[in-house]
Amino acid sequence: MKPQYKAVVIGASAGGLYAFKQIISVLPVDFFIPIIAVQHISPDSENYIITFLNNHSAITIKEADEKEKLKPGCVYFSAPNYHLLIEKDATLSLSTEQKVNYSRPSIDVMFETAADTFGKGVIGIILTGANQDGTAGIRAVKEAGGLTIVQDPTEAETPAMPKSAIEASAPDHIFSLDGIADFLLNLHQAHNKG
């Protein structure tokens, strides 16, 4: 039986802006499942990535609001200085608890709740970055039976994060950014064909 995907979660740190652009800008306006993204960012940032990506994409990109219901065709970016959590009823929660891996938002926190909520219906993707955040998260996705993808570290602007994710989780796929974009597009097309 072919897997029924319910959400894509993506995490990135240093170098994330352009990595996200390469993936998000090719996705169609009606992309079949919601995408939830954590980009490490300074606490008092204006979250410029949202404006930037909206200018380059068909799909809607917005900052995650608390208790918001996840919908297809939308990318939800974590807010600066808040952790982002996914609830069982496919809504979002925010938290100001301590930093995890020196980060708030933390990729691990979001990925772990995504794994808990969507189980094998989640696709977890780790992109460029300079630290270990996301490593426990991608492992949680894998343990829940979800699909794991990591950006090829040799291509990543900053390789430490994808490297660490690969070592810890033996992901299903190691792709270039274009490879990740194609993979998501193919899933979308396969879904539309039914």
Binding site: L85, E87, S93, T96, E97, E112
Partner: protein, 281 residues
């Protein structure tokens, strides 16, 4: 015996439900309407730290050992805070709220969910610099008595002062931040004079009642932990505690938009979630 994940999942949600029910009936703290993902994360972390095999095993300790419960309460309450967090919020208060407060002979302020007090002292500094501290009474409340004790003392780790000084300046601070604390060993001790008009008191937003006739209520980063129904209930409590024309300040990611009370308020600053209760119609 290996169990499948959906089984585990069901078991865990039953355990969480029982544990929260037990905490409520045993200690009176009601977490049943908090955001589930947040609660689950905190409970599982606690369980792992203490090497319990299940939440049921932890429940025994929670119900029988008050000290253990207190340490869990600390985990569940997220007391993380800072001075002049979101400096723009204070700039907006200075510009858009303080000028109106200046016309009042006496001002009552309620900080709900004040944690270790940094936010309260930040506002006190602002009132002082604007010359109205002496006619203000501040009530600062939290449901966690241990954290209130820290707030009362007003002694903070000195290594955070650099960050707070930057925040103070960004928040439109008029003088030098060093005027407001005394550095001693590894601590920064808040100026006694700032404490004069502050009362710290235990108050639970879920189970306790109104605070009457407030001119300003500040409750930041507390509502995010509640589900929509509880948020609505707590906003009602604020609505009943606030005078007509009074101000409500929430966290930057919180809103009254989805509550039943939205129509009774106007935006003072939409971005920074500062609202004004309409004058009686």
């Amino acid at each position: 015996m290996p169990e499948n994940t959906s089984h585990n999942d069901l078991t865990t949600s039953i355990e969480i439900e029982f544990l929260l029910e037990g905490i409520f009936r045993r200690y009176g703290y009601d977490f049943r309407s908090y955001s589930p993902a947040h609660i689950k994360r905190r409970l599982i972390n606690k369980m792992k730290q203490n090497k319990f095999r299940s939440l049921s095993e932890m429940q025994h300790h929670v119900l029988h050992d008050k000290n253990f419960f207190n340490s869990l309460l600390k985990d569940l309450s997220i007391n993380v805070t800072e001075m002049f967090r979101d400096p723009a919020f204070y700039v907006a208060l200075r510009k858009e709220v303080i000028p109106i407060l200046k016309t009042y002979p006496f001002i009552k302020v309620w900080h709900a969910g004040c944690a270790s007090g940094e936010e309260v002292y930040s506002f006190a500094i602002l009132l002082k610099e604007e010359g109205i501290y002496d006619r203000t009474q501040i009530y600062a409340t939290d449901f966690n008595n241990n954290i209130l004790e820290v707030a009362r003392k007003g002694i903070y780790p000195v290594d955070r002062i650099k960050e707070y000084t930057v925040n103070y300046q960004k928040a439109g601070g008029k003088y030098s931040f060093t005027d407001y604390y005394l550095a001693k060993y590894n601590s920064a001790i808040i100026d006694q004079a700032l404490k004069k008009n502050i009362v710290f008191a235990e108050h639970n937003l879920v189970t306790d009642t109104v605070f009457a006739e407030m001119h300003v209520i500040i409750c930041r980063n507390v509502l995010i932990y509640f589900n929509r129904d509880l948020q609505n209930k707590v906003i009602r409590l604020f609505n009943e505690s606030l005078v007509h024309g009074g101000f409500l300040g929430l966290g930057t990611k919180e809103t009254i938009q989805f509550s039943n009370y939205n129509a009774q308020y106007t935006d003072v600053n939409k971005e920074l979630k500062i609202y004004k209760k309409k004058v009686n119609e």
